[in-house]
Symmetry: C2
Subunit: 317 residues, 2 copies
């Protein structure tokens, strides 16, 4: 049954068992050249290799699999132009139920194609948040489908928490765990599971300075809305949700910001040294670490590489 409040460690472990048949247990990679540059030992959790190319597969699968039979009959719905759209379409397809995905008319064709390839039903709307919300409302009213939000939802957060859970299961004594922060679902889940399993490990969020509402909110101790975010890290444009803000205030130790130049440099380092493809959003934690080397000197640091869906024709180098 759907989670109404903060999941316990057992809840998260059960979520992991629930979604395990439908997701990859992604590898943790290390790279001695990057360690040398960084002055610490970094463990990269490769969610870019995850199903649908992003950690979002976890939360969407968990939310769909927890639906009651009568909810399943009516399907699920969301609005998204990013990885959550594909993740929810795939989770629905795996569960054999309908997925209604509201997408702005100007969403990249490649994103629509991904949703369609999983059998998702795309409903186009004007490219404004208002149009997205009102169109979604209509769809939900008409179909009775259950709205699965991209991050502001306990089932989704519980699912995203399984990523850090897998990291802890490797038996590495991380001094610090780092995750990028957009809506906050991955960060919230990571902070929560780390609080349960290793309360002395620092959890640090990394955010582009061009979309720094989590940073501003963290410093102010209350949610600061973001206006006109601008960054190459297109997965992190979203403002943070309320329950993830609360998780951050309770369980996150700091928020570090980096500019686009620093993000691109870290992204290039990962491409050239690790030979793997990541989205710009994934490079944000490594960029933040390299900008604050002294702080991590000699540590064991876990970094979540959140996804690998990038337009190869538009790489910033």
């Amino acid at each position: 049954m759907s989670q109404k409040s903060k999941p316990s460690l057992s809840d998260i472990r059960r979520a992991h068992e629930r979604i395990q048949p439908f997701i990859h247990r992604t590898p943790i990679l290390t790279n001695s050249a990057i360690d040398e540059i960084a002055g610490c030992k970094i463990f990269f959790k490769c969610e870019n290799f995850q199903k649908v190319g992003a950690f979002k597969a976890r939360g969407a699968a968990n939310a769909v699999l927890k639906l009651r039979p009568e909810e399943k009959e009516k399907g699920v719905a969301t609005h998204s132009s990013g990885n959550h759209a594909a993740a929810l379409a795939r989770a629905a397809s795996v569960a054999g139920i309908k997925a209604y995905i509201v997408m702005p008319s100007n969403a990249p064709e490649i994103k629509k194609k991904a949703v369609r390839s999983y059998g998702g039903d795309i409903i186009e709307c004007d490219p404004t948040l208002k149009a997205r919300e009102s169109t979604l409302e209509e769809v939900v009213k008409k179909t009775g489908a259950r709205f699965i939000p991209p991050f502001e939802d306990w089932d989704v957060i519980e699912g995203q928490a399984t990523c850090a859970l897998e990291m802890w299961e490797e038996g590495i004594a991380f001094d610090t765990l780092m995750a990028p922060v957009g809506g906050g679902g991955l960060l919230g889940g990571t902070a929560l599971v780390t609080h349960y399993l290793s309360p002395n490990t620092a959890v640090i969020a990394a955010e582009p300075s061009g979309a720094d509402d989590a940073y501003q909110s963290f410093k102010a101790g209350k949610r600061v809305p973001m206006e006109g975010p601008q960054t190459i890290a297109d997965g992190l444009l979203t403002s943070m949700g309320g329950i993830n803000f609360d998780l951050m205030m309770e369980h996150v130790d700091d928020v570090l910001t980096v500019d686009d130049g620093e993000i691109i440099e870290a992204m290039r380092l990962i491409y050239e040294r690790m030979k793997i493809i990541i989205e710009p959003s994934c490079a944000v934690p490594l960029a933040a670490l390299l900008k604050n080397k002294d702080r991590f000197m000699g540590q064991k640091v876990g970094i979540i590489l959140s996804g690998g869906n990038v337009d190869l024709g538009k790489l910033p180098f």
Copy 2:
């Protein structure tokens, strides 16, 4: 001591033990989306994650570690503008000996940088094969360094064979193993170890049609020299060596060719679906498989992804 003739299975196993502390045991990745497209089950051996970004680290390490103490004192030398240059410089650095690398004056700066970063001593020459060979001869005469060829050498072949050895150690019953062919060291080593361990497994070489001397030689039953090779797969421009030709005639089942368009399409598939970075050369076996799907239908196919050193600013898509 250096290998004077075809290595036995025990020789290859000993080579693996010898180089193991200095190389990665690279992962084997699978991808269900590509399997669906291909109609078979493909196991990708990721030598793009190898030290120096290519399988060449194996052969160079093996050749260097087998030198006698008095040979080590004088160092090693080669001419190369590619992965073998960096691989030999690194192997020498690990062994604490000198490496003299003859490189054409027009070699890409990034390749020179790699050699320098491992402490290799670069000797520039005119960009012709003749100048490379005569410059190397001078260097060897002057320094007494031992020439380590990129592929036409039993120690190097023995080292490259450890890649397929690791694949067989995974306990997968491959119906077919595929490797790209340039000079033939990787192909020769792969064919030899497979002959020892699973003689019924087909070993298939894949080659760009714009540099198809192995194909022509295989069909003719004698070495056919190549003139003016042209292909995007820049790691496969070399003509095949004599001992590797003999290994091919004895232990390789077929040679398949593909054009640059097919190579780019397969390369893109690996980037987009697997989220990993490979050189164009690595995409040649997958391109050949996709061009001849019927032949591999339902099989277990092992494909060696040979390296990941590519200029990210010049991707063909």
